[in-house]
């Protein structure tokens, strides 16, 4: 009886193996884990030259209480995988509306950040040296929003990469001691190179955070994760980010990402 089953399964097994081999030969042969991660980094954080979107962030704590933050986010890439500008204009909660926030991201050094506080009409530079700190108290860290450069980690294909036909499975470990994770497992879509799922483990091997791409749409020809979720297993909380009115290559200029525009948001991009 057992032998019979095995014999019956053989063709299926062979077929599966063949199909996997074909995928590999077409897409993966030339790519190292490092390269996959870099492609993913670009697909996720550097799509288009610039972009604008309305972001709704729902932060749900362990008791199921929800807080909502809504903001408009502008992004301009200066160089691929390199310098980037972010501009954030808060809409809700109402008492913080008109607050603006700007980041000049430079992977080779600390980010420069500015915040504008309308109630006292003050622009303040903020020194940041902890990229892993939470972004507006959500479950996303700054780095989850603006990206962690792949060179900061070592990458290798995971065992299950062989059997996964949909995504690359990549294991990463931080080169230097890092609070965000000790080990990360990423599932990268073999076609779009967008991360579908990321698992963050601490030194003790405990799963602390989990990222999932909930919805992916094609916008202006670019595959974009429009609903993303970050679950914090340590705090039993999660944050859902929904992006809408996404546009790419709208012609943003560096000028917008200066202190002047913090006080006077560029209306035409704010709607």
């Amino acid at each position: 009886m057992p032998n019979y089953i095995k014999v019956m399964q053989l063709p299926i097994l062979l077929l599966t193996l063949l199909s996997m081999l074909s995928v590999k030969s077409s897409a993966q042969d030339a790519l190292t884990a490092q390269e996959v991660m870099m492609k993913s980094h670009l697909a996720y954080y550097y799509s288009g030259n610039d972009g604008v979107s309305n972001v709704k962030m729902s932060i749900i704590n362990k008791r199921g209480k929800e807080r909502v933050r809504e903001f408009v986010m502008l992004r301009l890439d200066k160089e691929e995988a390199g310098k980037q500008f972010y501009y954030i204009y808060f809409k809700t909660p109402s008492d913080v509306s008109r607050m603006t926030f700007m980041v000049h991201k430079d992977p080779s050094e600390n980010d420069a950040r500015w915040i504008y506080i309308p109630s006292i009409d003050l622009i303040k530079p903020i020194s940041a040296d902890d990229k892993n700190s939470s972004f507006v108290n959500s479950d996303f860290s700054y780095e989850d929003i603006s990206g962690r450069h792949p060179d900061e980690d070592n990458h290798s294909f995971a065992e299950s990469n062989e059997t996964d036909s949909m995504s690359f499975v990549i294991e990463s470990s931080s080169k230097e001691k890092y609070k965000g994770f000790a080990r990360k497992v990423s599932y990268i879509d073999r076609n779009s190179f967008l991360p579908l799922r990321e698992l963050y483990y601490n030194r003790k091997g405990v799963l602390i955070k989990e990222f999932t791409a909930e919805e992916i749409e094609e916008i202006d020809g670019i595959k974009t994760i429009t609903v993303r979720k970050m679950t914090n297993h340590k705090k039993s909380s999660h944050t859902l980010v929904t992006m809408s009115s996404i546009k790419y290559n709208i012609g943003l200029t560096e000028e917008i990402f200066t202190e002047r525009y913090l006080k006077n948001p560029p209306r035409k991009f704010m709607k």
Partner: protein, 767 residues
């Protein structure tokens, strides 16, 4: 009727003993299923308002109880090396099972807001990855002292103590976690300099040590009692009997407690230590009487029957009064005390039943030969005989003086009672030399306080605490609370607003105040969240909906007296200065919970004591069928309670949990001697030819039995005086005092009264 049970025992001694052993075995088999509960919080029912509020506050603000780790840096100094070591230690602490690692308050993880380059502000951990120079270390100490949110929490002002506040999942982990903390410190070579404080540790460690003490002191007390009885009665075979009764009583009672599904709480763990002396008392009366009767009779059965019949009524009544004393505890509103009272009462009745059945059976099985030798014990050389003679002389010659003296003692005691201070503090359940006490003392001297209460304000409306009025009210409360000498620090979300504002305006101290605009408050706090501040720290002080705020109050002392004075003062202030918007004020925190259960305990004990006093009086009147004897019988009891509690008042020992519980023991035990004495005296009045003959005789038999009891119990519990846990010392002292005072009043005051007022009390033979 009185001797029915005894006759069965004499006819079937083997069966009776076997049955008793079988029951004992049954109860012994229940022991493995014991559930131990060492949380003093369970002194209050789980649905008690204060506990509901406490849970709510913990849930609303995601709070936990804290263990406070202190590192003595007096010798090493506030150095980069020590700070770097602490950073590593903190990382290890984060990995301890049961530690809420995200919420640890330590130099390496806590955020500090400061001025950065180019007029920027920085929010980042106070101590970075590595401190490189003494200058950096000094700067860190300075920053702690400048930041109200950190001051007195992370380090003492001069840096001679550094501390880490460690939140834990639940209190019952604190003993284990504190052991792990010690181990980590030892691995880093600073084991000597480490202190561990905080109520959870004290409470949990006390629970743990209590059970160890129990396992230690019960057998030691038994051993002492055995040796003392051996001195009195010489024959080991005879002396074993009371010990067997004692053990059976304890096993039956604890077994019943477990089989009925009760947890063994701190309170009920003390049941054995209460039952041992009580169960020995009856046995000593039986052995004394038996010994005296041996000379008169020849048939062993007859001697035993006569002994039991003689003692049946007084033993029944002493057992009933003791049981009533403890049963009264079930009137207190504190569940563990109720359970304790009920089961000691049941145990007392077990002891009585075993005394009149198993002891006769055991005596029956002892060879007549050894009993012969027992009866030949030399009488007159006996110190106790001489003491009894002396005591008799005192009441004959100085009876009136004794009465006047007693009245004087009552008057002085009444004054002393007014001096009683009601106070308790779980940390003080340890002796002063205990590491927990030392840690408590040093850390509270140098830091802002390890006792943390939470004052929560429920504005009942979202975003209400973003309003300047509400924020300023919180600030006003803090200013008032901080005037208290014992309050080392208070912390609220208003402090964060002020701190952010201060740093935002380039450390301009004029700006270290609350803004007048609602939007500004909201935006400053948003800035705090945006710029890397650990928002969880903020949400321990105000809810995410901004409908509730929480003021942390750090007290340097956890004495209930001090805590409740602080709470009262604050409540009064709130009453006089009502909030600008409707708010519900609630308290939470372990020190506050302790205050609440103590209040309940004290008032509950008062009712319990006066109630059982009345019941005992009625029982006495019924027993003696005489009002005047009823009144007289209560004299030793009243005098004992009065003088012991007055003594507590005079020496300034706080009236705490053990002292409160012991009033029921005092009541139950100190009437016993009087019952034996009066019962026997009145019987002798009927048997003997004259008052003097009867008076003489009562000293010889009952007097001696009482004397033996006093010595056995008083000395038997002396080992407890050396316990490292102060409640044990208190219990031991009470046994000693109860025995001495009630023994003395029974053997001096009672005879003096009876002798002086012979006409009133002498009931002539055949009258």
């Amino acid at each position: 009727m009185k001797t029915k049970l005894t006759e069965i025992s004499l006819n079937h001694p083997g069966k009776v003993i076997t049955l008793a052993l079988l029951i004992t075995a049954f109860f012994l088999f229940q022991f493995p299923s014991v559930v131990i509960d060492t949380d003093p919080e369970n002194m209050l029912p789980a649905d008690e308002q204060v506990r509901v509020d406490d849970r709510k506050a913990k849930e609303d603000f995601d709070l936990y109880d804290f263990i406070v780790l202190g590192i003595n840096s007096q010798e090493s100094g506030f150095t980069p090396e020590l700070l770097n070591k602490l950073t590593e230690i903190t990382a290890e602490i984060e990995d301890i099972e049961g530690v809420i690692s995200d919420d640890i308050i330590a130099p390496s993880v806590v955020d500090d807001i400061s001025q950065g380059a180019n007029g920027s502000i920085i929010i980042k951990p106070l101590v970075g990855d590595s401190v490189r120079s003494q200058k950096e270390a000094d700067e860190i100490l300075f920053r702690i002292s400048q930041n109200k949110l950190l001051r007195g929490k992370l380090a003492s002002p001069n840096g001679d103590l550094i501390s880490i506040f460690i939140p834990i999942e639940s209190k019952d982990l604190s003993h284990r976690i504190s052991e792990q903390l010690k181990l980590i410190a030892e691995n880093y070579g600073i084991g000597e300099d480490v202190f561990i404080a905080g109520l959870p540790v004290a409470e949990d460690s006390f629970g743990k040590e209590m059970f160890i003490q129990m396992g230690l002191s019960a057998p030691v007390a038994m051993l002492f009692i055995f040796v003392l009885m051996l001195i009195f009665f010489k024959k080991a075979k005879l002396v074993v009997a009371p010990l067997i009764i004692s053990m059976m009583t304890v096993i039956w009672t604890m077994g019943l407690l477990i089989v009925t599904g009760n947890t063994v709480h701190i309170m009920s763990s003390m049941i054995p230590i209460f039952l041992i002396p009580i169960s020995v008392l009856d046995s000593i009366h039986i052995l004394s009487e038996f010994h005296d009767n041996l000379k008169k009779q020849s048939s062993k059965d007859l001697i035993i029957t006569e002994t039991i019949s003689e003692l049946f009524v007084p033993m029944l009544y002493t057992s009933l009064t003791t049981a009533v004393g403890f049963l009264s505890l079930s009137l207190t509103p504190i569940p563990p005390v109720q359970v304790f009272g009920m089961f000691v009462a049941v145990g007392v009745l077990f002891a009585w039943a075993l005394s009149i059945t198993v002891i006769p059976a055991l005596l029956k099985l002892i060879s007549t030969d050894s009993l012969k030798k027992f009866s030949e014990l030399d009488e007159d050389k006996y110190l106790l005989n001489r003491v009894m003679k002396k005591l008799k002389q005192v009441s004959v010659s100085y009876g009136k003086v004794v009465i006047v003296l007693a009245l004087f003692v009552i008057a002085v005691s009444a004054y002393g009672l007014n001096l009683i201070i009601v106070n308790d503090n779980p940390v003080k359940w340890f002796k002063e030399s205990h590491p927990i006490r030392i840690a408590d003392k040093i850390m509270n001297q140098r830091l802002a306080g390890t006792y943390i209460n939470f004052l929560t304000l429920d504005g009942m409306k979202d975003d209400i605490f973003k309003s300047p009025e509400a924020a300023k009210y919180v600030e006003k409360l803090q200013e008032m609370i901080e005037q208290d000498d014992y309050v080392g620090a208070t912390t609220s979300y208003a402090d964060i607003v002020k701190k952010v504002r201060f740093e935002l305006f380039e450390a301009d101290s004029a700006k270290a105040s609350l803004p007048d605009s609602r939007d500004e408050i909201a935006q400053l706090l948003f800035l705090f969240e945006m710029s890397g501040g650990d928002a969880d720290d903020l949400y321990k002080l105000v809810t995410q909906e901004f409908d509730k705020a929480n003021i942390w109050i750090q007290l340097k002392k956890g004495d209930n007296q001090i805590v409740s004075a602080s709470v009262d003062r604050i409540n009064k202030f709130i009453e006089d200065n009502p909030p600008p918007v409707p708010m519900e004020i609630r308290w939470a925190g372990l020190p506050y919970i302790n205050v609440v259960w103590q209040d309940k305990m004290v008032s509950g004990m008062k009712d319990a004591l006066s109630g059982s006093f009345l019941v005992v009086f009625i029982m006495m009147v019924i027993l003696f069928r005489s009002f005047k004897w009823g009144v007289v019988s209560l004299l030793p009891l009243s005098l004992t309670i009065l003088s012991i509690y007055a003594f507590i008042g005079f020496i300034g020992k706080p009236y705490d949990m053990p002292v409160a519980i012991l009033s029921s023991l005092t009541l139950g035990l100190s009437v016993d001697f009087a019952i034996h004495f009066i019962q026997r005296l009145r019987k002798l009045f009927k048997e003997k030819e004259s008052f003097n003959e009867a008076f003489d005789e009562v000293f010889k038999n009952t007097g001696k039995a009482i004397g033996r009891n006093v010595v056995v119990i008083a000395i038997g519990f002396i080992p407890m005086l050396f316990s490292s846990l102060s409640p044990y010392v208190t219990v031991g002292t009470f046994f000693l005092a109860i025995m001495l005072v009630s023994g003395l009043t029974t053997m001096v005051l009672l005879p003096s009264i009876v002798y002086t007022f012979q006409n009133l009390f002498y009931e002539k033979k055949n009258a």
